[in-house]
């Protein structure tokens, strides 16, 4: 066994990789939140619940209609996106000009209703969703056994994350989007349908939560609580990265996954607290977050 300063390096490499896998998951979830906050200034507390809804829709699609995992990866984000569009159009728009607190409370209420409804309908114990046959098994690395599905999670999340970042920061569509939310009157004058852009952006941010839900279904328990467990951590990540910074959310998500993974190795009891500890330190030293712009 290779050791350094009494630490088993093989064990440590395994922990780093596992941390990175979780981090890519966090990145995907915080990306949706960061888009919705960064562009629309809405604090969406229902993001976790919609992630849970995504996982449940994937389960129902398989159970009742025989729609497999791969099809669910496309269909579920679309459906969850539609839920998001309806939410924005009929619930959030009427209070768009009020203080941020209103949208926060509204989305929090929606989250509680969704969670309650799913507990009522499906119970609290969770449902099982098998790993798709193509991704069963794993690869033996020198330092650990890497399940194929986890490798897929890293590749898929990082592709989606950087694709989204590129679209928003580097393309013309992204430029419209940023301009439309920065100065709506001006863009309206140029003939751009700003309300439509806002609705679609919200729908897209929420669809990312739905996608994360489908990807989580085979590895985590599909239960009504799964979203609320995740939401607080993901919010902390967005705050650390800098509220609204899209690239920041992605990088912080990956980084926090690794930090959490190392904590689980050295002092597991603190693993749920460490991210908040980092948040406190970051807020004290750099109130706008690691990648945020000072106001």
């Amino acid at each position: 066994m290779v050791t350094f300063l009494g630490i088993n390096l093989f064990g440590l490499s395994g922990q780093l990789l596992v941390g990175l896998i979780n981090g890519s998951f966090y990145a995907l979830l915080s990306l949706g939140l960061a888009i919705i906050f960064g562009l629309l200034k809405i604090i969406n507390f229902a993001q976790g619940a919609l992630y849970m809804v995504g996982a449940f829709i994937a389960w129902m699609a398989l159970q009742y209609m025989g729609i497999n995992y791969w099809a669910a990866l496309i269909i579920v984000p679309l459906l969850v996106g539609v839920i998001g569009v309806l939410m924005e159009r009929y619930l959030l728009r009427p209070i768009a000009n009020e203080d941020h607190l209103y949208s926060l409370l509204l989305t929090f209420g929606i989250a509680l209703i969704l969670q309650g409804a799913f507990t009522h309908g499906f119970g609290s114990s969770g449902l099982s969703y098998a790993i798709p046959a193509e991704l069963k098994g794993g690869t033996k690395l020198p330092f650990m056994y890497l399940p194929n599905y986890r490798a897929w999670i890293i590749v898929a999340s990082i592709t989606v994350c950087f694709g989204t970042w590129w679209m928003i920061e580097k393309t013309k569509l992204g430029a419209y989007l940023r301009a439309g939310t920065e100065n709506p009157q001006m863009m309206q004058a140029f003939g751009i349908n700003v309300p439509l852009i806002v609705t679609l952006t919200f729908g897209f941010g929420v669809a990312l939560a739905g996608l994360a839900g489908v990807m989580a279904a085979p590895v985590y328990a599909v239960s009504p609580e799964m979203g609320s467990n995740m939401l607080i951590v993901v919010f902390a990540i967005v705050v650390i990265g800098g509220m609204g910074s899209i690239g920041g959310a992605i990088l912080t998500g990956l980084g926090m996954g690794v930090v959490e993974g190392l904590t689980k190795y050295f002092y597991p009891e603190a693993s749920t607290t460490i991210i908040f500890l980092v948040m406190v330190v970051v807020l004290l030293l750099k109130p706008a977050g690691l990648f945020g712009k000072e106001a």
Partner: protein, 401 residues
């Protein structure tokens, strides 16, 4: 001296009751009221929750709906798994609403707070779903009746046979709160007493979503058995991850507390073959099947052990009220302890003086997909564990006559 007088007096009273038959005080407030306290919508809702309410309703209906000519009422509340919420509710029940006994009772932390309130008010706790063994040891009380199972029975039922079969090295993935610690401690005692050793343990915070880090640590520990000292979704998540990372193929993974709804939530390909200990299974014989069928018709799913325990405890309590002709807790408790519970749930059962309901426990194996005939066909019973082997002997200071 005062305590001595009290004991003498109650002994005298009991003798009087026994001599004169059921002519005692009757019901103190012209009705008998039973409270059902449980987590109704949170993580433990499926293992007791609304199902415990259904079970108690069934017991009251089967009993005839009234006792000593007075109606039996049921009140229910959600404790949200919070000790302060639960104890405040129960205080209101016993002080203002004349509740005579409380059943359900899930999270051990809540039960600890609630049993204290009940004991202070001399009301009976019929504990159906809590795991801690504290209620009949360090927090024992003459008003506690702990019905379905406890951590000692789980450790004796699941851990002991594995150690004895040569699996000597153990690693724990433990839920980092009172219940997990208690389970780990009791199981460690069983392992060491049987010549085994604990090679490592991690304490994972309650509600951890990703267990892969802990599974890797378990993998490199060189253990023969990895024990999951957790429950509910923690159990489901940790076992799923263990299977994914190939741990279940390298070593034995033992689930120390598995309720039927959790076993149903797992893919048989992952959970199939795992051995565990339970206080009840619906498919034991005609009697359990008949009751479980009625339960499922009303509740929508098969009963977990806590549901059956809540029914059995309530029934035994109602029988004691009827036989003694009073709702006086001391008298009723004495009768409950002197007479053996006997129903579809309570087999070879006795309610000991310390409040521990000792009865047959079952070592079961989770069935693989090919063995299952229906969605409810999840366990194969391997062995009946006699109550005396499953539960710890009574402590002298908890012997309430």
């Amino acid at each position: 001296m005062k305590a001595m007088t009290k004991t003498l007096m109650s002994a005298a009273m009991a003798t009087a009751i026994a001599a004169t038959g059921a002519q005692a005080a009757g019901l103190s407030d012209d009705k008998l009221k039973i409270g059902v306290l449980a987590d109704m919508g949170g993580v433990y809702a499926d293992v007791c929750g609304p199902g415990c309410v259904t079970a108690v309703e069934m017991a009251v209906e089967d009993f005839g709906g009234s006792v000593l000519g007075k109606p039996i009422e049921i009140v229910t509340a959600d404790d949200q798994n919070k000790a302060d919420v639960g104890s405040a509710k129960v205080r209101e029940w016993v002080e203002d609403q004349q509740v005579d006994a409380v059943t359900g009772l899930v999270a051990s932390s809540v039960t600890g707070a609630v049993t204290k309130v009940l004991t202070d008010n001399k009301k009976i706790a019929l504990i159906s779903t809590s795991a801690s063994n504290a209620f009949t040891t360090k927090a024992c009380s003459p008003y506690n009746a702990h019905w379905t199972y406890n951590v000692v029975a789980l450790a004796n039922g699941t851990v002991k046979p594995m150690v004895q079969s040569g699996k000597k090295k153990w690693f724990f993935i433990t839920a980092d709160y009172a219940f997990g610690h208690a389970l780990e401690k009791v199981a460690t005692g069983v392992i060491e007493n049987n010549g085994g050793e604990v090679v490592g343990a991690v304490r994972a915070p309650l509600g951890t979503t990703d267990f892969s880090s802990y599974v890797l640590q378990a993998q490199s520990s060189g253990a023969d058995v990895v024990a999951l000292a957790n429950a509910g979704s923690d159990f489901v998540n940790s076992l799923k991850t263990a299977a994914e990372f190939g741990l279940t193929e390298m070593v034995d993974v033992a689930g120390l507390l598995v309720f039927t709804p959790n076993a149903q939530a797992l893919d048989p390909a992952i959970a199939g073959g795992m051995k565990l200990t339970t206080g009840f299974y619906w498919d034991l014989d005609d009697e359990t099947r008949a009751w479980s069928k009625r339960f499922k018709e009303r509740h929508g799913s098969i009963p977990a052990m806590g549901h059956a325990g809540a029914y059995s405890a309530t029934m035994h309590y109602l029988n004691a009220v009827k036989a003694t002709g009073t709702d006086d807790s001391d008298t009723v408790m004495k009768h409950m302890k002197a007479n053996k519970p006997n129903d579809f749930f309570a087999r070879n059962a006795t309610l000991r003086a310390d409040g521990r309901m000792v009865h047959d426990m079952y070592q079961v194996r989770i069935k693989t997909a090919s063995e299952r005939k229906s969605e409810d066909d999840i366990f194969a019973v391997e062995k009946v564990i006699p109550g005396d082997e499953a539960f710890a002997p009574m402590l002298a200071q908890c012997e309430f006559k």
